[in-house]
């Protein structure tokens, strides 16, 4: 198994564990919520059931009391008739129960039972009036039979004993109407206050059964009525009542006077059926939720794996870019101070790429006491630019190792790069060769920013430093056109002069308000004398301060060359054939020197004259007539002197040996010749002749 697979598996395992944890937490939370909800809803349902039962019991009790009151009323309202009959005509006592039944529909039967022995004529007397349920007529029969023995019946004994009204235990009347009955009995007292008889009213309890059956709040709920002695009077569900193995909730209410107890019995199963149904639905939803969570987690884990892969790839690319950057940086010299043993030169440089890899480059090295250096900027950014940069850097190293002319180096590099430039990438490039002995700088600028020269003010009045751009020819950048004739230029560096080379990342550094750093700011920054590193840091700090927090948009590269030698000389050379027609070239030669040294026109003309006279001598006399020969003229420019060294391979001739012309002579006396060497002597401070290696060497020196 590969490392990648292993790490993927590990990652999957990790996310599976995390996923499991999430699922467990989700289940626990959901379960706790539903249990809580269940408990609370149970409580609520119980409360609601209780309220419902109470109100039903209340209404049932009210109905019962209504009938009880009617029954009691029917008896009580007939008491005075019973008393009156007892007093006046006991024979008419039979009218009393008839009347009770007659006027009270709830009363199905009534009797007035005389206390045995109270009336001599009727020792046992109990006429019973009852309503015929079919005809509705009132029939009367006697309860004073041998078989019945009414004085021993409960309905008789109880009120006799207490002297108050009494409700009998409900009973099932098999004889009368085959129905559940109850009897209210009341003692009837005579004027002496003795109990003379008991007046009763029988009430059918069919209505109670009906009432109880109509009071049914839950499908399996049932109601019961129990008597004062605890006997079950009726139950709407006798079966359930008897099995009694269900969890039930029982609500009860007492019925006054009768001593009954009404009960509503609700099986819990019934009560909580709704909650349980809701609970089931919740359970199903929970399971669905958990499944959904698992599915989502799986998707997330898969995505994470994808992102992880992406991140790994990104890291790989980043890592490769870092390596690329290291390789790039290894191509440019970056140990500073670069030449710790040299006192005549100090170089500092830096590249700050905008991305990991950049398209800027610089290079420098010393060969034959000459500093070869370059700076360049590849068009575009990133990896393509970086590749071109490495090519450019390598080409410079390779070509400059055998070429001594910046223009030739640049031309050669350009040809190599333009030949196979399918992507039209180009490089702005500045190549220079600084002669460390003479301070002569030859350079070729291929479309790059002109280098800045920081030098001491040439004015005698103004002291301080001056910053100026090196004059640059309009050469095209590298890589665009093979065979382009690059033009080379020349300048001379003096002691303490600094060359500041940079890429446009410096001048085009942008701040938050899209302002460019610009050349003016750069030149202001450089207008103080510092060492190379100091100059570099000053520029970099100035750019950083200017830019602030704005992200860098382009590579920033700086190369600073601080020239610290007192150049022995600056050399210029001119080679002429021994042809008098080449003399005018001397004028141009001299003019360049005069410009460089800042000589006035008069002195320039004088020096030109001296040079011409000396060179003319060589051209005219050094070589045999018709023979081709060369005159080598070197000008050495020192700070306070100018030296011309005129060398030829002709016959030995010492002009200094020619006698002085007498300028005091009149025109008539003056010889036509001899003026030339006279002028040379006059103009120059020193004229020296040497014969060395079969060569005439005439050295003319002028102090300035």
């Amino acid at each position: 198994m590969s490392t990648k697979e292993r790490s993927e598996k590990k990652l999957l395992g990790k996310s599976a564990r995390a996923g499991l944890l999430v699922v467990v937490i989700a289940i626990v939370t959901l379960e706790a919520t539903s249990i809580t909800q269940y408990i609370y809803s149970q409580r609520g349902i119980k409360e609601e059931a209780s309220q419902r039962a109470q109100s039903e019991l209340q209404s049932a009790t009210n109905r019962i009391m209504d009938i009880v009151n009617q029954a009691e009323g029917s008896v009580n309202n007939s008491l005075w008739v019973a008393e009156w009959c007892l007093e006046t005509s006991p024979d008419s006592l039979v009218r009393v129960p008839q009347r009770v039944v007659e006027i009270n529909p709830v009363v199905v039967g009534s009797t007035i039972a005389l206390v045995p022995g109270y009336n001599k004529k009727y020792p046992l007397y109990s006429p019973y009036a009852t309503r015929n349920l079919e005809t509705g007529e009132i029939e009367t029969l006697s309860l004073a039979t041998d078989s019945y023995d009414y004085p021993s019946q409960e309905w008789f004994t109880q009120p006799m004993a207490s002297g108050e009204g009494y409700w009998s235990e409900p009973y099932f009347d098999e004889g009368g109407g085959n129905m559940l009955m109850t009897t209210f009995s009341m003692p009837v007292k005579d004027h002496e206050g003795r109990i003379a008889a008991i007046l009763t009213a029988d009430i059918s309890l069919d209505w109670l059964t009906e009432l109880m059956e109509n009071t049914k709040s839950y499908p399996n709920a049932y109601n019961t009525v129990t008597s004062r002695n605890g006997h079950l009077v009726l139950s709407t569900n006798l079966e359930a009542q008897q099995s009694g193995n269900l969890d039930t909730l029982v609500y009860q209410a007492p019925v006054e006077r009768t001593g009954w107890t009404l009960s509503i019995v609700i099986p819990e199963k019934d009560l909580f059926a709704g909650v349980r149904r809701v609970g089931m639905v919740v359970k199903i939803l929970q399971i669905l939720g958990v499944v959904l969570i698992i599915v989502i987690l799986r998707l997330i884990a898969k995505n994470q794996l994808k992102y992880k892969n992406l991140n790994t790839q990104k890291e790989l690319i980043q890592n490769e870019l870092r390596i690329g950057r290291d390789i790039q940086m290894s191509l440019v010299p970056k140990t500073f101070p670069a030449f710790p043993k040299r006192t005549d030169l100090d170089v500092a440089a830096c590249i700050v790429p905008a991305k990991e890899v950049g398209g800027d480059l610089y290079d420098f090295y010393i060969r034959d006491e000459k500093l070869f250096f370059c700076i360049g900027d590849v068009s575009g950014k990133g990896v393509p630019a970086a590749l071109v940069m490495t090519v450019t850097q390598s080409l410079f190293r390779a070509i400059s190792s055998r070429e001594n002319s910046p223009a030739k180096i640049v031309a050669s590099m350009n040809d190599s790069m333009a030949e196979k430039n399918e992507n039209s990438m180009f490089v702005t490039f500045f190549c220079g060769i600084l002669d460390l002995v003479t301070g002569q700088l030859r350079y070729c600028n291929a479309g790059h920013n002109p280098a800045l020269r920081v030098g001491v003010s040439e004015s005698m009045v103004v002291t301080g430093t001056t910053v100026s751009q090196l004059p640059v020819e309009s050469n095209i950048p590298l890589g665009l056109d093979t065979g382009f004739p690059f033009k080379e230029q020349e300048a001379f560096l003096g002691y303490d002069d600094t060359l500041f080379l940079y890429t446009d990342g410096v001048t085009e550094a942008e701040n938050a308000t899209f302002e460019l750093f610009g050349e003016e700011r750069l030149e202001t920054t450089l207008s103080t004398k510092r060492d190379a590193q100091g100059q570099l840091e000053a520029a970099r700090d100035a750019v950083n301060n200017f830019v602030g927090d704005t992200p860098q948009s382009d590579d920033i590269t700086i190369l600073v060359i601080h020239y610290l030698a007192t150049p022995a000389k600056q050399e210029r050379r001119l080679i002429l054939h021994n042809d008098i027609q080449q003399i005018p070239q001397l004028a141009d030669f001299m003019e360049t020197i005069a410009e460089e040294k800042g000589l006035d026109q008069g002195l320039c003309l004088s020096l030109n004259l001296a040079l011409e006279e000396a060179v003319t001598n060589v051209i005219l006399y050094a070589y045999p007539a018709g023979a081709d020969g060369l005159v080598n003229i070197e000008a050495v420019l020192r700070e306070h002197s100018l030296e011309f060294i005129i060398t030829d391979s002709g016959v030995a001739f010492d002009p200094t040996a020619v006698p002085e012309a007498d300028t005091t002579l009149s025109a008539a006396e003056r010889a036509i010749g001899g003026l030339g060497i006279h002028l040379v002597r006059q103009i120059m401070d020193e004229v020296r002749y040497q014969r060395l290696d079969d060569k005439n060497i005439l050295t003319l020196t002028k102090n300035i």
Binding site: P584, E612, E613, A667, A668, L675
Partner: protein
């Protein structure tokens, strides 16, 4: 180097223009020969446009002067610049010519 010669009322004027260096001197020698023919009169060398003179040029001046002296004529050098004046001084020519 350019030279134009004009003669009015016995006075010959040569306008010298440019640099009178060694090759130029050879070039203008025929003109100076022509001037020598008028050397009995007054010859004016107008140097207003002359910027430079080498010893070969000076020799042409000197030769003309010598002929003029021989013929009893007169050579006037006009409007020389500072550089040329310096050369004239160094060579003693200031004494030999009438400078205007």
């Amino acid at each position: 180097m350019k030279i134009t010669i004009e003669t009015t009322n016995g006075t010959t004027t040569a306008h010298l223009e440019g640099r009178l260096d060694t090759p130029a001197s050879t070039e203008v020698t025929p003109y100076f020969d022509q001037l020598q023919e008028h050397a009995d009169g007054t010859v004016i060398l107008d140097c207003t446009e002359l910027s430079y003179i080498a010893s070969s040029g000076l020799r042409l001046f000197l030769a003309l002067r010598k002929v003029s002296m021989a013929k009893g004529g007169k050579v006037i050098v006009k409007n020389i610049n500072d550089g040329i004046r310096q050369v004239f001084m160094m060579t003693g020519f200031l004494n030999m010519f009438e400078i205007q």
